[in-house]
């Protein structure tokens, strides 16, 4: 049998009809094997970790809260920065450009350390959680600003002209013509950025915020069981990020229109 038919898939020479099923079975077997190793190993210590389930749960809930707050924050910051980037006021445009370039050129970890230990501390601000969420929002906002800007710029000049022709004001043009069309272009990268916010919230553990990753680290140091502590951690993040990408695909489908 020709092995290529099971691996190569092109429009002219499609793969074997059962190739996808075979692949799924192989993937399933791998996961099952991994679970078997994880759960059935003689040295596994799941009972000790189970005792800390409340720590995991509270950490996960805090991560959900941080992610939701940072998504709302970064979307607000991002849209404002994108509008500022396109503003007719030159200093505002420069300010937005500077913010976007500086933040995108700096690691989040460095931003978190700098903002909390240098800026917040010298301002006498000691709320680690608020400082962490704010930093994460400002970090992600810079990326969202570029996503939103690209979305706005994808709306053609003829659309803006048509909006002027029917007598819409500039704010109405943004509301009824530009934003709905920009959203469709921006949605896939926006969903990716939201998934990044969820994942990046794990770095807030460096500030001693008892979110999900911090909780797993605590459980690990208390039970000396690395796999048992960190496997639920990975699963917990996937439980948040996979629905985000699924939801984005649904929305993308609903907003679909031809130009």
């Amino acid at each position: 049998m020709n092995w290529r038919r099971w691996v190569i898939d092109t429009p002219r020479a499609p793969a074997h009809p059962f190739a996808g099923a075979l692949l799924a079975m192989a993937g399933g077997a791998t996961v099952t094997g991994f679970c078997y190793l994880a759960l059935a190993g003689a040295t596994r210590n799941w009972e000790a970790v189970w005792g800390y389930r409340a720590v995991f749960w509270k950490g996960w809930l805090l991560t959900v809260g941080i992610a939701l707050a940072a998504m709302a924050g970064s979307l607000t910051v991002g849209v404002l920065a994108a509008l500022a980037r396109r503003s007719v006021i030159l200093p505002l445009r420069g300010l937005a450009a500077g913010y976007i370039e500086l933040v995108r050129g700096t690691p989040l970890l460095v931003l978190l350390l700098f903002f909390f230990y240098v800026v917040a501390n010298s301002a006498g601000w000691n709320d680690r959680l608020a400082a962490g969420v704010l930093t994460l929002s400002l970090f992600s906002g810079a990326y969202i600003a570029e996503i939103v800007r690209a979305g706005i710029e994808s709306v053609g000049a003829s659309q803006l002209e048509s909006a002027r022709a029917i007598g819409l004001t500039p704010p109405q043009t943004y509301r009824f013509v530009v934003f709905p069309q920009a959203l469709r272009h921006a949605l896939p990268p926006l969903a990716g950025q939201f998934a990044s916010v969820i994942k990046d919230s794990s770095l807030l553990s460096i500030l001693g915020i008892s979110e999900f990753t911090f909780a797993a680290q605590q459980v690990n140091s208390a039970t000396y069981s690395t796999l048992e502590s960190f496997l639920p951690l990975a699963v917990g993040y996937l439980a948040l990020t996979l629905p985000v990408s699924w939801l984005s695909r649904q929305l993308e489908h609903r907003l679909r229109f031809e130009t």
Binding site: S158, I166, G167, L168, T169, Q172, L255, F257
Partner: protein, 242 residues
Amino acid sequence: MMRIECRGIGKFFGAHRALDNLDIHAEFPHTLALIGPSGGGKSTLLRILAGLEVPDAGTVAVGATELPRDEAALRAHRARSGIVFQSFNLFPHLSAIENVRLPLEHVHRLPDAGPRALAALARFGLADHAGKKPAQLSGGQRQRVAIARALAPEPDILFMDEPTSALDPEMTAEVLDVIASLRQARQPLVLVTHEMGFARKAADAVAFIAAGRVLECRPADAFFTAPESPEAARFLGRILKY
């Protein structure tokens, strides 16, 4: 009687002089056609009359009012005018009826925006297509939706910029029928067109524009029977050759 009066209009795009000290005085019962060679300035003149561009020099009057120069007042002028483009320019994310309803609801703030939008679509035989997105419509249907959108607010005057240039011959006929029917409805109309046969039949007056100036502005019959300027005679000769 509709009146259009321009004095000394100049319009530059960078170094390109689109309109050069243009004067026009036109009085027509329904339809004025702007014709002439490509790049001669007819679309620019239409866009200035419609309030989409502001001239660099000169004064413009449409009907009784002189056009303002500031954007807010010009927006009010555009809201009182209907504008139809060559490439339809419908909003692709909105259905046909939403396209028509948008200005009724948010510019003119009419309480009966929904029924009015539907009536405007029905007037052009589009009632069955109200819920379709522009991508699901043919070119002729799209242009009819655009005309419905422009006419639904009952504008003082309708401006059309080469409304059939993006259409095949059959759809062109379909849209020209619609435009001809506006005459019966006594809708004042200024259009830029390359359809000489249509201009001759459906327009009351014709302005011949070349090199940024109006060279002739006369009743359509008189113009097509005996153009006065040598440029217009040459233009018509070349167009009617085939």
